[in-house]
Symmetry: C2
Subunit: 209 residues, 2 copies
């Protein structure tokens, strides 16, 4: 028997979710909360297995409520159920410790299955939320190394140090070369990378690593 706490500011939605869960033999709705503050107190008192959590709520929102609840009882599974799957809500929710993220336009079976999977320790995500997650993880990983073709090894050294935020004299000292030499390399780097100023060059250095 999976003990569920429903958190949503619209009682109509809460009622719908409760009916949905009550029809399942393995799900038991142990309580309802209309905002984040109620959710925190009810979670502490009722110790549910899974919390179905809305994000946009008056007062304490679902993100803060999630981190507060998990600070008290880390074993609780928080499943976010919200209308929009935008990144502004997704990543803060995951950072707060939510185990899954479903959209309200999903079919009811997906929610019920998501609650069960959450209770089992799995992480249920709606299809396009998962797609967004993958894209973020892969684009973050794709920017690992992009060699910026055509740089001489010495220019690469200088570029790295520019990316560290060093001045020309500091770069010269670090590489044991004169300041004018550093300037020469930097001039070459700027033309090669098409950077109009030093800060852009530093950004290129960062994008590259």
């Amino acid at each position: 028997m999976i003990r569920v706490l429903l958190v949503d500011d619209q009682q109509l939605i809460r009622a719908g979710l409760r009916m949905l869960c009550d029809a399942e033999p393995d799900l038991e709705v142990v309580g309802e909360a209309g905002n984040g503050r109620e959710a925190i107190t009810l979670a502490a008192r009722l110790t549910p297995d899974v919390i179905v959590m809305d994000i946009r709520m008056p007062g304490v929102d679902g993100i803060s409520a999630t981190s507060r609840v998990l600070a008290e009882r880390p074993a609780t599974r928080v499943l976010v159920l919200t209308t929009f799957g935008d990144d502004d809500h997704l990543y803060p929710a995951l950072n707060a410790g939510a185990c899954g993220f479903l959209l309200k336009d999903a079919p009811p079976e997906e929610l019920l299955e998501g609650i069960r999977r959450a209770a089992e320790g799995d992480s249920p995500f709606s299809r396009d939320v998962l797609r967004r997650l993958v894209r973020r993880a892969t684009t973050a990983g794709a920017e690992q190394r992009r060699p910026v073709e055509g740089l001489t090894p010495r220019e690469q050294d200088v570029l790295d140090l520019v990316g560290e935020g060093l001045s020309n004299t500091e770069i010269g000292e670090r590489l044991h070369i004169g300041v004018t030499t550093v300037k020469t390399h930097i001039a070459a780097l700027m033309t090669k990378t098409g950077s109009p100023n030093r800060v852009r060059l530093a950004l290129v250095a960062h994008r590259q690593r």
Copy 2:
């Protein structure tokens, strides 16, 4: 009926997978490949719905084979099935266009369910692979905003544009303020953030977002 192509260099595993799939009424194994090269040619000839792809193979590996296959037929669903769930394989595979990533130590039902979900356009992931994906996406997302205490809103505006690599005059034009005002804000930013020069300031801006 879901048409499946099995790709793995060990024929014992291929045989096991084939037996597994043949026992299912909705799955049909249309072919087997022992390396990436075979996989590419067979995928073109057999046009399977789902390819179950191993990564470590002699000759052309599963990553390259995946991108080659998807370049020809983008609608193909490639489901990676491998022994180790390390990041070295995961992100290249996703970048290559794999739709899912399962581990070989998963229960057989998970694989069968994964093939069905892949065919439906979903993205099946093993539990700990998904956990790794979430962690990467969130740690990448955790660096969104770290407010750098004590900055006025206007200073924050200027800091953002410095981070973009704009010059003082460009910043002034963008914010509709004079260059000297920009200088004032930047001076404040440098003392507040402890940056000795503009590039370091830009790095602070980037670390913050």
